[in-house]
């Protein structure tokens, strides 16, 4: 308020013409030069490339591989620019974008399963720019082409798994305490126990409270005093949800890394969702197969002979190497409790896998194994899959996806000793097997199944089209605005236009430094910024004209114009920033890109329209009076 009083009062003493301080000028020059340098990389088009990595860490990427690839390409008549050996992978730069996909498929076929090929866009930034830290902008999917998924974690399923374990434990606890029940049912999301007397029910509840106080909560039915229903507590549910999502996130990250895609994005979205972006990948089927292999692990007791009693299940062995195995239905420990798994060697240099469970898993494992030393224990791999099926819905036949589970045993080992949190699985055939098992245990252990709720594929041609359109629109828009400004504000207008150009370069350089991704709406944001950042200068120039008309000297008019307009510019732009923040909050991907460019653009435009333009004017006119052409 005081600021406004001072500015608006007519009795302000006339201030001497302010010389533009030297330090400000220097700072400005530095910023402008930096912005141009950091924008330059975007002018160097990227090369279409194929990246080759080993499918496991053990694979050797060396010159011999390079010459092998060279031969393959020569034979197929593919022109390539260069093959680089860098960071443990081979980068084949192609001369032609058209056959990028074909070349990738060719190399994958010829090199076999030991290597993973991926599409890539390799930057061609000259070394001196790279040394300065400049690099081209990261492009979003709508400009690059690629695949985008949103997965939702089926938390209900995770709850069900836990209920199952509690069910078993509750049953045992009651048995040990010799409380008899008439019926005990597992309802997937709850456990119901029916007793003969109310007394039994109360005793049972007290016992449940003692054993699982924090995790299970009672649902009381006023009418029925012999029935006890237990559900998961909110606290436990929250815990399960958190763990399920973060565990799945880690597992997906591992799998995506295995795919060898360059610059993938795997991120949590909200409470229960995971976003995956794979630039350059075109085949959603392959991507989904890798990611969609949602699986979990179970450790169960097995029966040595094939005869089982009640509560048993017969499951096939993986790869049909051995005959089916009879297992207890009861699950001792799930993959969720596996904290770590390492493939190592034992004292006799035989491959084995060291497993670490968390404390809960350790407790359960101990309880079971101490009574079953010498018995076999199996590791069961549970895969949640989907298949296309014709289903009758109403009176129509529809193609739909049906989920189903596939379970098979991946390993059976004899329990040598009572096990708790740390134990080993021995008797593995080879290093391969132990590595695979360890990997499966580490990353294959999904706490809960996931379903794809959103998916987007953008073809590479569309990506290029979008870039072209965006750039053209920006150029045309900029051209029109330059014309308008020059016509209306003459030389001042031209100076403002130069500042506007720097506005764009600073914007791009900032985004480059922040690592922000450019999307099509982001380009729209840049175009809009060009139009709206003019506003600042228009306000200033309008004020200056007014002051001149009122009779102020030109120097004073300039100063007053810049000063008085500042507040208005500040006010007006603040609202733009608020909208930007809101859009960032509610928007997804592309809209977020727009919010980012607009917000940054607004902040920068305050700098360029005030400081830069003023500096240019001072520099250009110095102390000279303003001619007719000036404004």
């Amino acid at each position: 308020m005081i600021l406004e009083q001072t500015l608006l009062s007519k009795n302000r003493p006339s201030s001497p013409p302010v010389m533009f301080p030297l330090w400000k000028t220097l700072l400005m020059v530095v910023i402008l030069v930096w912005s141009v340098l950091y924008t330059l990389p975007n002018l160097y088009p990227e090369d279409a490339a194929v990246q080759i990595t080993g499918s496991s860490a053990a694979e050797d990427i060396s010159d011999s591989l390079r010459s092998r690839v060279q031969n393959i390409l020569k034979e197929a008549g593919v022109t390539f620019k260069q093959i680089e050996l860098k960071d443990g992978s081979l980068l084949v730069r192609l001369a032609d974008v058209e056959n990028q996909l074909a070349v990738k498929d060719l190399l994958q076929a010829k090199l076999g399963a030991r290597y993973v090929t991926a599409l890539n866009l390799a930057p061609t930034t000259p070394d001196w720019l790279v040394a300065l830290g400049a690099k081209p902008l990261k492009l979003g999917l709508d400009l690059r082409g690629g695949v985008h998924f949103v997965l939702e974690v089926d938390v209900e399923e995770a709850f069900t798994q836990h209920i199952r374990v509690y069910f078993d434990q509750a049953r045992e606890t009651l048995r040990e305490a010799k409380i008899r029940y008439a019926q005990m049912k597992n309802n997937e999301q709850s456990i119901t126990m029916v007793f003969r007397t109310e007394q039994d029910q109360k005793a049972a509840y007290a016992l449940m409270l003692k054993s699982f106080g924090r995790d299970l909560v009672r649902q009381l039915d006023e009418q029925d005093l012999v029935t006890l229903t237990l559900v998961l507590s909110e606290e436990k549910k929250r815990e399960i949800r958190e763990f399920a999502v973060s565990q799945n996130l880690a597992a997906i990250r591992n799998r995506v890394n295995e795919m060898g895609v360059a610059e993938p994005l795997v991120q949590r979205q909200g409470q229960e969702r995971i976003v995956i972006e794979l630039p350059g990948v075109q085949d959603t089927a392959i991507a989904k197969r890798v990611i969609g292999r949602t699986a979990s692990l179970e450790f169960r007791l097995a029966h040595r002979n094939q005869v089982g009693g009640s509560n048993t299940e017969v499951l096939p062995f993986k790869g049909d190497r051995q005959s089916p195995v009879t297992l207890e239905e009861k699950v001792i420990v799930t993959g969720e409790q596996v904290v770590n798994a390492q493939a190592t060697f034992d004292e006799h240099s035989v491959p084995q896998v060291n497993i670490t469970l968390n404390s809960e898993g350790g407790r359960r494992m101990l309880k079971t194994t101490k009574d079953h030393v010498g018995d076999p224990m199996a590791v069961v791999f549970v895969e949640h899959k989907q298949r296309l099926v014709e289903k009758k819905v109403g009176d129509r036949l529809e193609v739909a996806r049906e989920p189903y589970t596939e379970k098979y045993v991946i390993n059976v080992a004899t329990i040598q000793d009572s096990l708790s949190s740390q134990f080993r699985i021995t008797g593995l055939d080879s290093i391969q097997e132990s590595s695979e098992l360890a990997l499966l245990l580490r990353s294959g252990a999904l706490a809960a199944p996931m379903y794809i709720i959103e998916e987007q594929t953008v073809g590479p041609t569309l990506g290029k089209e979008n870039i072209k359109k965006g750039v053209n629109a920006t150029l045309l828009g900029y051209g029109l605005v330059i014309l308008a400004m020059a016509l209306v504000y003459r030389i001042f207008g031209v100076l403002a236009n130069i500042a506007l150009a720097f506005n764009v370069t600073i914007l791009i350089a900032t985004m480059s430094m922040l690592g922000a991704t450019l999307t099509l709406p982001g380009i729209a944001g840049i175009v809009l910024t060009v139009g709206m950042s003019v506003d600042g200068n228009v306000l200033i120039f309008a004020r200056i004209r007014e002051e001149i008309r009122k009779g102020l000297s030109s120097r004073l008019a300039i100063t007053t114009g810049f000063d008085r307009a500042f507040l208005t510019i500040w006010d007006a732009n603040l609202t733009g920033l608020i909208v930007g923040a809101l859009l960032f909050a509610i928007g997804t991907g592309p809209v977020k890109g727009f919010a980012v460019t607009t917000s940054i653009g607004i902040v920068i435009s305050m700098f360029t329209s005030i400081t830069c333009t003023r500096a240019f004017i001072e520099f250009f006119y110095g102390k000279r009076p303003l001619s007719r052409w000036a404004l």
Binding site: V393, R401, Y404, I452, G459, K469, L520, P521, T568
Partner: protein, 324 residues
């Protein structure tokens, strides 16, 4: 540059303009209520596929093939005879009495990328299709987005309102709020009336309009406040007229520059940004108009006067200014 008269009598037609605005607003609301929106994929869920065939494709043939398999699809040409856009509805809601978990899960599945490819290969095996773009949005995502967007708009309006109340006097805040609501409703109404596709980008544009319209309004309010201090003797109506006239140059120039830029986007930006650019264009035109005839007119309606700005302590003492 131009020699403008000292003041243009904008507020003379203030009453008529205000009535026109009210009519347009009511009309827009009616359209939104009864005609609704042509909601895009982001809000409805479903699958949209853009495909380019090697040769010109017979749409009826495609449509037949789809209906044979009981697949509900909208098929249309995009640009030239080879390019086709197909739209599939979102997944059905779970059947009412379905106890089976598998049924529930199955009902929630919907057309995915590879399914479409399979369908197309089956429908036209000789004419190869290249996928340009596939968008699959699950129904629950669509619903969520609708709700989030509605809330975002309300929050935006509330924030702006608070901001203006904070920076200016509360009567200004009323004017600003009325103008913003007016702009939002008219822009939405335009899209509703002409059934233009309404997706997340258009919504972003509407939020952008809210910010931009307020820009305009603030510049005028700023001048009005300044003039109240400088021109003690004038009536409110005159002060507003003068303020608007003084800021006319700037308002016109900024609007023109932004519209030029939007024109560039409309012409060259392609389909993806068309809705967005159009929404912004309409919003800016309406927004400029509303800054004059809604925001400023309400200042007159609420009888803004000198008393709202300063308290005169004593006529004989030197003038002391307080701002409320």
């Amino acid at each position: 540059m131009f020699l403008l008269p000292e003041k243009i009598r904008f507020m003379k037609i203030g009453r008529y303009a205000f009535i026109l605005s009210i009519l347009l607003t009511v009309g827009s609301l009616l359209s939104i209520a009864f005609k609704g929106f042509n909601l895009g994929l982001d809000f409805t869920g479903g699958t949209v596929v853009e495909v380019v065939f090697d040769r010109a494709i017979d749409l009826d043939h495609l449509r037949e093939s789809f209906s044979e398999q009981s697949i509900d699809a909208q098929v249309q040409l995009m640009g030239n005879a080879n390019a086709v856009m197909m739209r599939f509805p979102p997944a059905q809601a779970t059947p009412q009495n379905s106890e089976n978990a598998a049924d529930k899960k199955a009902a929630s599945m919907q057309m995915g990328g590879e399914q479409v490819v399979a369908l197309l290969t089956r429908a036209s095996p000789e004419n190869k299709a290249t996928i340009k773009k596939i968008d699959v949005v699950g129904p629950q995502v669509g619903d969520e987005l609708r709700d989030k967007s509605g809330i975002a708009m309300i929050i935006a309006l509330a924030c702006m309102c608070l901001y203006v109340a904070f920076r200016f006097q509360y009567k200004f805040s009323l004017g600003a709020l009325a103008a913003l609501i007016h702009d939002t409703i008219l822009t939405l109404g335009f899209f509703s009336f002409f059934q233009l596709p309404f997706d997340l980008n258009v919504l972003a544009a509407v939020l952008g309009v809210i910010g931009y319209s307020l820009n305009d309004t603030i510049v005028i309010f700023d001048r009005v406040r300044e003039n109240f201090a400088l021109l003690r003797e004038e009536t409110t109506e005159n002060i507003i007229d003068i303020s608007i006239t003084q800021t006319l140059g700037r308002t016109l120039m900024t609007s023109i520059c932004t519209l030029l830029v939007l024109l560039a986007m409309l012409i060259l930006g392609g389909d993806a940004l068309f809705g967005f650019s159009l929404a912004l264009t309409i919003g800016i035109v309406v927004g400029t108009y509303s800054s004059y005839y809604i925001a400023s007119y309400i200042l007159i309606l609420t009888r803004l006067s000198k008393d709202d700005f300063f308290k005169v302590v004593d006529d004989s003492e030197p003038f002391e200014e307080h701002f409320e």
